[in-house]
């Protein structure tokens, strides 16, 4: 039992933030469930905001490093397909879900954050995401040279929308979400790739390509 309290606080905060949102989760709820004292949050992290940032930092660092590593490995080989780039981006995060309860909770939180993040957290997430997105955009631009940069950016935007929505686990009447996805990430990954790859590869709208058939 050395630094155990810190880890328990991170795990519990991750779970509760993902489930109920940041503002709706009180420090008392976190410390109670983590079997820690209320003041422990301020002792170990300084404030509620910094606790949230710590939750993100802990996982985003390894997640984005793995994404960049996969992309780099990809580019040492021959020509790069859209599917391969998508897989390099998606699979590391999807594997977090497969890994079990804690990782899945984080992906839920991550999906939520893309939409409901406050101004302060947004800057933090932007700093974490910017280099990764930029690299993927470069690589995709080379694979899809027929797209204007702005058009490519928007399709990348739609792609992240699908991922955020799916990770957040947004409930829709038609889809018994948890039942379907739990334990079947392989199938979900293939569905995601199939849907997104053809979207990214769709003929450009802008008036530059009239010879495509």
């Amino acid at each position: 039992m050395e630094d155990d309290t810190r880890q328990r606080l991170l795990d519990t905060a991750e779970a509760l933030f993902a489930e109920h949102g940041f503002a709706e989760t009180s420090l008392r709820a976190i410390t109670t469930q983590a079997r820690a004292n209320l003041a422990a949050v301020h002792y170990h992290f300084g404030s509620k905001d910094e606790l949230l940032r710590a939750v993100f930092a802990r996982r985003l660092k390894v997640l984005n490093e793995e994404r960049l590593a996969r992309l780099a490995a990809l580019e040492t080989g021959g020509p790069v397909t859209v599917e391969a780039v998508l897989t390099a981006f998606i699979e590391p995060s999807l594997r977090l879900r497969r890994a079990g309860g804690q990782g899945e909770r984080f992906t839920r939180l991550l999906g939520r954050a893309q939409i409901e993040a406050s101004a302060g957290l947004r800057d933090f997430l932007r700093d974490q995401y910017a280099p990764v997105l930029e690299r993927f955009q470069q690589t995709l631009g080379r694979t899809l040279p027929q797209l204007q940069p702005e058009e490519l950016r928007w399709r990348l935007y739609f792609t992240l929308g699908v991922l955020s929505f799916t990770y957040a686990g947004a409930r829709l009447p038609q889809i018994p979400f948890a039942a379907r996805v739990a334990g079947d990430e392989e199938w979900l990954l293939r569905q995601l790739i199939q849907f997104l790859a053809v979207g990214l590869r769709a003929p450009p709208l802008e008036e530059r390509a009239e010879e495509t058939a």
Copy 2:
């Protein structure tokens, strides 16, 4: 100036909820900006939760009715294309943005709600959305008979993910969102349709591997 206070409260709540989220917006912030008394919310609506539901109900009713009307009009004609179905679903909401400030704020709130809605609001939204989604799913299923129902449901799920993300106006480093989209809904609509239609039409995946326990 009879029912004016009620309308001002709805408008202001819509704007603030969309901008900062439900929990982060206090009734005092709403009533101050709406130039109303704090108790006016409880007089006109009963509680903060019911105020939020009233904000949704006011617009969702006409929005979903228009969607269903367009879909019905579509089916009186000949064979239905994926693009036409998507347009019937998207354009009514996108026109809300074009209509001006208030409508655009609502679409932001709507996009947010799909992800961060609490259990109570989720039931409310499900009741509002269920019949519409079911109808669109039926029509799309007839247009895309090669898809298994489950596969179609998931592609519809991805589609709503793109829309929610875009409506919420999720900020990404690469995209100066407000600058591009404001006043250019026509272009955004075409980009959305282009991206989503090919995704929905993508060839189905082969039979998936056996279940995992």
